[in-house]
Amino acid sequence: MAPTENDIAIVGFAQTSPDRRTQLTEADLVLHATRAVIADTGLDKSEIGFTVSGSCDYLSGQAFSFVQNTDAYGMVPAINESHVEMDGAWALYEAYVRLLQGDIDVAMAVGVGKNSNSDPSTLYTIEFDPYYLTPLGTDTWSLAALQARALLDSGKATERDFADVVVRNRANAKSNPYAQIKGDYSADELLAADYVRNPLRRHDLPPTTDQAAAIILARGKRAYDFCERPAWITGIDHRIEAHLPTVRKDITTSVSTRLAAQGAGVGKGPIEVAEVHAPFSFQELIVAESLGLDASTEINPSGGALATHAVMVAGIIRMGEAANQIIKNGKNRTLAHSTSGPCLQQNLVCVMEGDQ
């Protein structure tokens, strides 16, 4: 296609190895991811017009933990730079909006999370309503399990359906060198495990991963300088809903995903591949339904968040994987999704297309 100056594409993606426990710091991980994507695209760092990262202070328990991560950019001379306390998928959204200002044509988005320093069963208690939920030690696994139970009771899915999601993702992950949990499993053997939070078993929960990922975006014709077949972002949107799952009308569906999908124009054509950020197995079912996908869409060929899950990174990796389906795998129209908050409170949807 002949891109206009408002067309923006993903032209490069790199990620670090997804370790259960890295010896490196978050800054080291950012350095490795950004050096890799800069090398892959053949950029010089001085060509990057805007750099933005997503990370979380509480993952390391340090105020301003992202500040030292910016050492990895080599900011001499000074650069245009920003940070979000959100998954790198939202950092990419800020980069996208920044490119639309028209004064720069290349941007880099980064996500990083050294998740192994903290305990997911306790850390996220402070992410929820500080008056009603945190004092009860309300944990992210329990909230997900409450949603899963509601889904079962609605009759829309069974525990076997949950296990089938895990089986498929772990099998898909076998062909992904950046997947942490992979292999051939049967639903029967998975269903024999004990519950961690009824009705969720360990395999229904995300793994703990230390990882960083970086994406290069380019605007207009500049995209072809880095990539033969850029992944053009034809739609991107994100929405949030009420914080407390108890006041949402129906937690077996995701209103915010549906609205973001509409905003991103998902329904304007068939989606060949969708990379869905579902930290809990059953959430893939809810998200796929809310995105309006049908059986023709291949979901999570990478193995998804059940194979590798660094909080603050898993979403931007979905963007990179969906883009690579176009850049490297000949697909024409793909989708990436990212989520945040209790019971899928916030969701981002991005549709990408390749030149035909």
Partner: protein, 385 residues
């Protein structure tokens, strides 16, 4: 270019205090946001997207509080975005909000920034939860000592800034500190906190929030009150540490100002800019930023302070609101600077209004004096004619 003009049509802030005992965290942000909507003559349903900024979540002990605040800010079913760029975050929150309009993504955007410092303790958070935290003052005192020696400034410059900003704050109904009877002697005799900084040369610890409503050109022209137009934005960063880094006069501070001046067409900042809100948490940062932002020549910033040029009735008023020295809800402090600049060019700053202000700049900085956010706002899209 897809860049669309952006108008600021609503500004709100809380009454800032050491402890806002009358509100929850949601109540605090809501108060500022509600005032901004009223100023804009809008309701919650008119807003297309919300941007929230604050400094580290360790200050209140709530991780990603924008999730819980979605309801209070009317963000349900809308995009909600969270910015965190250290001390410059309030500025970045304004810039990111304005970009959502200038890019054509949204027509009306609400940016909100806050800190409720009284819930926790910033020194604790800055010290990584350990003892012997040097705090922000301890981190910046060496830079200030170097500036004083390098510029040959007399020691009373810091005291003068402390007095001037507090007298301005006394005119601002929202300011935390209203020290109408402050004097040079009182500043000089206040306890030494981080040599050479006295207690009264340092910012307070505040609870507070600030909110700004952005809209597009049509919305700005249709607004019931005069809008402020966003003329230029910039966010520049440099490393916090490298061997030989000049942290007194950071290159990112120069780069930020240069980009703003170039975009607006400013060739003589001191003459062409009517007033400035600069992030001055410790008194000496006024002359330091006047130099690093190329408003004063190198080594001459303190002379602007000394001559009274930066006073409310001077030729280049700085921190008409009373600045960070009068109110410091950390995450909101940057947006308060940005909002005050807009209030000035709207002509709505009441007792702290600079007469005939048509072009104003605002700045915020963060971390090891390494992250800078700045914007220029005007009473029209072309205030320089």
């Amino acid at each position: 270019m897809s860049h669309q003009p952006v108008a600021i049509v609503g500004i709100g802030q809380t009454h800032h205090k050491r402890k806002r005992a009358d509100v929850s965290i949601a109540g605090l942000v809501r108060e500022a946001a509600q005032r901004a909507l009223e100023d804009a003559n809008m309701d919650w349903g008119d807003i297309d997207a919300v941007v929230l900024g604050k400094a580290p979540d360790l200050f209140e002990g709530v991780m990603k509080p924008e999730m819980y605040l979605a309801d209070a800010l009317g963000a349900v079913n809308k995009p909600m975005f969270r910015v965190h760029t250290a001390g410059s975050v309030g500025g970045s929150t304004g810039i990111v909000g304005s970009h959502l309009v200038s890019s054509g993504r949204h027509k009306r955007v609400l940016s909100v920034a806050f800190e409720k410092q009284s819930e926790g303790n910033a020194q604790f958070a800055l010290g990584g939860g350990k003892g012997a935290s040097i705090g922000a003052g301890g981190a910046f005192a060496p830079f200030i000592r170097a500036y004083i020696r390098r510029s040959g400034a007399p020691e009373d410059i810091g005291w003068m800034v402390a007095v001037k900003d507090r007298l301005n704050g006394a005119k601002n109904p929202y300011a935390h500190l209203k020290l109408a009877d402050i004097t040079i002697d009182k500043v000089k005799e206040s306890p030494m906190m981080w040599d050479p900084l006295h207690f009264l040369e340092s910012c307070p610890s505040s609870d507070g929030a600030c909110a700004v409503v952005f809209t597009d050109e049509d919305g700005g022209k249709a607004a019931s009150k005069p809008p402020a137009w966003v003329l230029a934005t910039a966010m520049k960063s440099e490393p916090g540490w490298y061997s030989g880094r000049d942290a007194v006069n950071p290159q990112a501070a120069h780069a930020c100002a240069q980009e703003i001046y170039k975009t607006v067409g400013i060739t003589n900042p001191r003459e062409q800019i009517d007033c400035a809100e600069l992030y001055v948490p410790f008194s000496w940062y006024e002359p330091m930023w006047l130099e690093a932002h190329e408003i004063a020549a190198p080594g001459e910033g303190w002379k602007m302070t000394q001559s009274g040029a930066t006073a409310l009735d001077g030729d280049f008023p700085v921190n008409m609101s009373g600045g960070v020295l009068s109110s410091n809800p950390i995450g909101a402090s940057g947006l308060l600077r940005f909002a005050e600049a807009a209030l000035q060019v709207r002509g709505l700053a009441e007792d702290h209004q600079v007469g005939g202000a048509n072009l104003a700049i605002a700045q915020a900085y963060g971390a090891n004096a390494q992250f800078f956010a700045m914007w220029a706002v005007g009473s029209s899209l072309n205030p320089l004619g």
